[in-house]
Structures are given as structure tokens and as C-alpha cells.
Amino acid sequence: MGFVGLYNYWIVVFLMMAGFYIVIARGNLIKKLVGLNVFQASVFVLYISMGKVAGGTAPIIGDGITTYSNPLPHVLILTAIVVGVATTALGLALVVRINRAYGTIEEDDIHEQDEES
């Protein structure tokens, strides 16, 4: 397993760091949520790569097929994707409410308004 063999995992690490960076560096609340999504997506790729068996097919019994991929991580990550969707939905709902209450979704402006009051 050289660099190419670990290709998926390099992508995972890249996405994870990129997402994490967006969450920390951006002041726009929507952009932060997008970063959070990228961060979570990296974990999806991690799990899916883990379940893949080289040369294996989908785990359905058929003639002449002996190697199957491991379906468990794939099923697990379906759950995590659902959780991710729920988190994003809730996050966006909060941003809508914040926008209504403050009239802005920039972190710095919100902070400023809180300081004044």
C-alpha cells in the first residue's frame, strides 16, 4: 500500500482538514455549516473506503461470486449521513432565527451587537 493504495485516505484527511479549517476561519454562519458538512463528509468517505474489499462486489449472493465487500460500514454510515442531514437542518434553522433576531449572519457583527446591549 503505497501512496496510491491509500488514495482514499489521503482524500479523507484533505477533506477533514479543509472542512475543519472552514469552520474555524470563516465568520459567516452558513459557511461554517458548509465547512461542518465537508468535515462530516470526510468521515463518510473514511467508513465507505474501510468496507471496500479489493475485487469484491456488492454483498448479494450470486453465481460464481466469492468476494464481497463488507456491508456493515456502509450501513453504519447511512445512519451517520441521516444524523448529518438533521444537524445541518437544525443548524440552518438556527441561522434563520439568528438572522431574524440580529439582522445579520456574520459572527463579528453579532458579537458587536451583543457587546453593545
Binding site: 455549516l33 445512519t79 444524523v83 438533521a86 437544525l90 443548524g91 438556527l94 432565527r97 439568528i98
Partner: protein
């Protein structure tokens, strides 16, 4: 029949009650159902604890699928004990919410509050009871998502930003936990926690396992608000509705500490967690910084709820300090403090709710003269505050005493000294409020302020009395905590 399915009913009852609350909608029905479901959960967890004390570990196979393939609910002393904490506190708080919500929430949408409350309870109970690492993550997210909703219901608009901030940090923490669980599955091919504990030594502690350990530790530390990952906590507890602050402060962080204990001891094993890897020293340093830094910050707060939130960060320091001693005594102190801190912080945040109910604010200046206006509320604050400091005859004393004994046993007399010194800081911040309430005349126009309604005082005083009771008769709590600590160290019998 019901007895055999008790472990799953513990989670299913609040889970089913949550959507039913939305269907019922009626003014009183949703509340009655939430109350019944929560109290039923408390009764069930007491029965489970009694059974575990008598017969040892209970293992329940969900859907009849044998572990380690199926999901197993595995209840030993440690999680039976945490279940009682979570469901007990939520039972006291739910009785209190009705009245306190009058001011803080729209009456017509009340049922949505009860629904989220029950979901949060489901998640916390599920995290505690499950023996499956991935199932733990799913329940953790159920409890987290509903707690973001609960926090955002606070009366101030800053509740929204606090909930958002918690959502971002909490999601990062939970995602770290998933990454850790995934890496563990990669290394061993199992998700059952006991099975993981058995297979990890054979799989070898290679870099994947070390990475999994790091991700899980950081993820759990974010959730339990270990200094310096506590940044979400003060805002969340300050701006959430008072009953939610009481509920979350007393349960959510405790469950996160439980996750940490479970992974350190059951999954990775004490030898790998503390001898192969140098985990104990950083934890100890962070715990001590938390004790002093957070207590010092608490002293300068003018919002009393925020003061209590910072004090929570400090108290979590004590729990982690006990853990970092890596002795049965230290772990006993940690487990004991989970229970005792839940009682005292629960009581104190409920007091904040009573004060807010009458004053519409918890600013420290508003407390002037409250000792005479709201004698029962302020007496509850004094009792809770004494417990927070660790004065003898309160629950707080018992856990600090155990912590000091454990430190002395390990020959670390300076740790014992630091525990006592940091308690002095607690004296300062509790005294600031007490001084205002009892030694300053009430400001003009305060004549109308009267005692909080009985439906809020009774739950508050229930927790206060529990504080005093478990401070005098600690046989049960110390006994269970000690046995739980031995069990964690000896692996699972």
C-alpha cells in the same frame, strides 16, 4: 415479561412518549405524558440498579441478535448508577418546567418543548445503557440535537447564538467520536465494547488504535467541556431556559464523562490508556487548570447563571482529576462526584429559575435583599452553595473528601492541597451571592417580589434535601461508586 425487557423499555418509553406528546398537543396532556414517561424511566432505572447490585451484570440482546453481532445493552454498576442520576434529575426537573416555562416560552407550543426534553432524555439514557460503540454515537447525537433545540428556546436572543456555537462544537466532538469508533472497527472488526476490549490486545496497539484513542478522547473531552474545550458551555447554560440549564448541567456532561470512562477502561483497558500512553499527566494538568481558572472567572461574573456555568467547568475538573490519579480511590471520587455534582448543580440552577420567575433577571444586583423576600429560594441557594464548596454534612463534602483521600493515598499531598485551595475560590463566588441576598437592603420597588410558586419550590427542595441526605448517609453512594470503580479496573466480570 416486563422484567426481562426492562433494559430496552428504559429507552423505548421516553422515545415513544416524545412523538406522542406532539400528537396529543392538548394543554395538559403533553405535560402529563412527559411527566409520567420521565418518572417511569426513573422507576425503571432504580429497578435496574437494584437488580445489578443483587445479580451482577445484565446483558440484553436487542431483537434477539446475539452479541457481538447484534446490539447489546449491557448494564453493569457504572452505567446503572449513571442511569439513576440522569433519570432522577430529569424527574425532578420535569415537574418544575411547567411553571417556569410560563414566562420563558409560548404556551401554545409547549408540547414541542416536552417532546425535545423526552428525546434528550432518551439519548442520554441510550448512551449510558448501550454496549455498542456505534449505537452510542447515534444516541449521543439524539441527545445533542435535542439539547441544541432546548437551549435555543431561551428567552434572550443570545440563546440562539449559544445554541449555534454548541451545535458546531458538539458536532465536531461527535464526529471525532465516530472517527475513533470507525478506526477501532478497522482494527478489530467489531463494535461491541466488551468484545473490543477483548480483541484489542490481540489486534496489537498499532498506530490506528492510538489514533482512535486520540480521536475518542478529544471528542469526549469536547462533549464533557474539559478545559480548554469548554468554550460552548458558559453561553449555553447562561442563555438556556433555567429548567434546561438544570437538566443539562446535571446530566449531559456527566454522561460525557461516563463515555470517557467507558472507553478508557472497558474498551482500551487501563493499562493501554494510562501506562502505554501518557494520558494521566495531561489530564491532571488540564483538570487543575480548570479548577482554578474557571473558579477564578466565576468570581468575576455578574450574571449568576454564568457564574454557576463556570463553576460547572471547575467541578468537571475535579471529576477528571480523580480519573487522572488512576487508582480505585480516584475513580471512586470521580464516579461519586458525578452523582453529587448532578444534585448540587441541578438544585442551584433550579434556584436560578425561581429567581428569574420573580425578577425576570439573574443579574447579581437583583439578588439584593432576596433573603427576606424569597426566604425558601435563597435558603436552597445557600444549601446548594455549601454543597458546592464542600462543607461537611453536604454531598459535596463526601466527594471532595474521597478525592483528597485518593490523592493522599497516591502520595500526592500537593494535589490534596490544591483541591482544598480551589474550594476556597468556591467560597468566594458563593459568598458574593449570599452577601447580596442577606446583607444588603432590597432596592426600592422590590416590595412586590414574593416567594416562588410551590410547584417550583418542591422540585428544588427535593434536590436540596437529597444533597443533605447523601451528605450525611453516604453509605449507598460511596459503596456503589467504589464497587463500580473496582469493576472498571478489573475489566468486566
Amino acid at each position: 415479561m416486563i422484567a426481562t425487557h426492562l433494559p430496552v423499555l428504559q429507552v423505548v418509553v421516553p422515545l415513544i412518549a416524545a412523538p406522542t406528546c406532539i400528537l396529543l398537543r392538548g394543554k395538559n396532556w403533553a405535560f402529563m405524558l412527559a411527566l409520567l414517561a420521565t418518572w417511569a424511566a426513573f422507576a425503571m432505572s432504580c429497578m435496574l440498579l437494584a437488580r445489578v447490585l443483587d445479580d451482577g451484570v445484565i446483558s440484553y440482546e436487542l431483537g434477539g441478535w446475539a452479541a457481538p453481532w447484534g446490539i447489546e445493552y449491557r448494564i453493569d454498576l457504572v452505567n446503572a448508577y449513571v442511569l439513576v442520576i440522569v433519570s432522577g434529575i430529569s424527574s425532578a426537573v420535569i415537574a418544575y418546567t411547567r411553571q417556569s416555562m410560563l414566562l420563558e416560552f409560548v404556551r401554545e407550543r409547549e408540547y414541542l418543548f416536552y417532546s425535545s426534553y423526552l428525546l434528550c432524555l432518551t439519548g442520554l439514557l441510550g448512551v449510558t445503557i448501550t454496549g455498542d460503540a456505534f449505537n452510542l454515537f447515534v444516541f449521543l447525537e439524539i441527545s445533542s440535537l435535542s439539547s441544541y433545540v432546548l437551549i435555543s428556546l431561551g428567552p434572550d436572543r443570545r440563546a440562539l447564538t449559544a445554541a449555534y456555537q454548541y451545535l458546531v462544537m458538539g458536532t465536531i466532538g461527535a464526529t471525532f467520536i465516530v472517527i475513533g469508533v470507525g478506526l477501532l472497527y478497522h482494527a478489530t472488526g467489531t463494535l461491541n465494547m466488551v468484545d473490543l476490549g477483548a480483541r484489542l490486545p490481540a489486534a496489537g496497539y498499532d498506530r490506528v488504535v492510538v489514533a482512535a484513542f486520540a480521536f475518542l478522547t478529544i471528542g469526549a473531552a469536547l462533549k464533557l467541556a474539559l478545559f480548554p474545550l469548554h468554550l460552548w458551555l458558559p453561553n449555553a447554560y447562561t442563555y438556556a431556559p433555567s429548567s434546561v440549564s438544570a437538566f443539562l448541567a446535571a446530566t449531559a456532561t456527566k454522561v460525557a464523562v461516563y463515555i470517557l470512562l467507558r472507553f478508557f477502561f472497558t474498551v482500551f483497558g487501563a493499562e493501554f490508556s494510562f501506562e502505554t500512553l501518557p494520558t494521566a499527566v495531561p489530564l491532571m494538568v488540564l483538570a487543575i487548570i480548570a479548577m482554578f481558572a474557571a473558579s477564578t472567572v466565576a468570581i468575576f461574573q455578574v450574571n449568576v447563571k454564568r457564574l454557576l456555568a463556570y463553576s460547572s467547568v471547575a467541578q468537571i475538573g475535579y471529576m477528571i482529576l480523580g480519573l487522572s490519579l488512576v487508582t480505585v480511590g480516584g475513580l471512586t471520587a470521580t464516579i461519586l462526584h458525578l452523582f453529587n455534582h448532578a444534585l448540587m448543580k441541578g438544585a442551584l440552577f433550579l434556584v436560578m429559575g425561581c429567581v428569574y420567575y420573580r425578577l425576570k433577571s439573574v443579574h447579581i444586583d437583583g439578588f439584593a435583599g432576596l433573603g427576606r423576600r424569597m426566604p425558601w429560594t435563597m435558603a436552597a441557594f445557600v444549601a446548594g452553595g455549601l454543597s458546592l464548596i464542600g462543607v461537611p454534612l453536604t454531598a459535596g463534602f463526601i466527594s471532595k473528601w474521597q478525592l483528597v483521600l485518593a490523592a493522599l493515598d497516591s502520595g500526592l499531598w500537593w494535589i490534596a492541597l490544591l483541591v482544598v485551595l480551589s474550594s476556597l475560590l468556591a467560597v468566594v463566588y458563593v459568598w458574593r451571592v449570599v452577601e447580596k441576598a442577606y446583607f444588603e437592603p432590597p432596592p426600592a420597588g422590590h416590595d412586590k417580589v414574593e416567594e416562588a410558586p410551590l410547584s417550583m419550590l418542591i422540585p428544588t427542595w427535593t434536590l436540596v434535601c437529597a444533597n443533605i441526605y447523601f451528605g450525611i448517609d453516604a453509605e449507598l453512594t460511596v459503596g456503589v461508586a467504589q464497587r463500580a470503580a473496582v469493576e472498571l479496573f478489573g475489566g468486566v466480570q
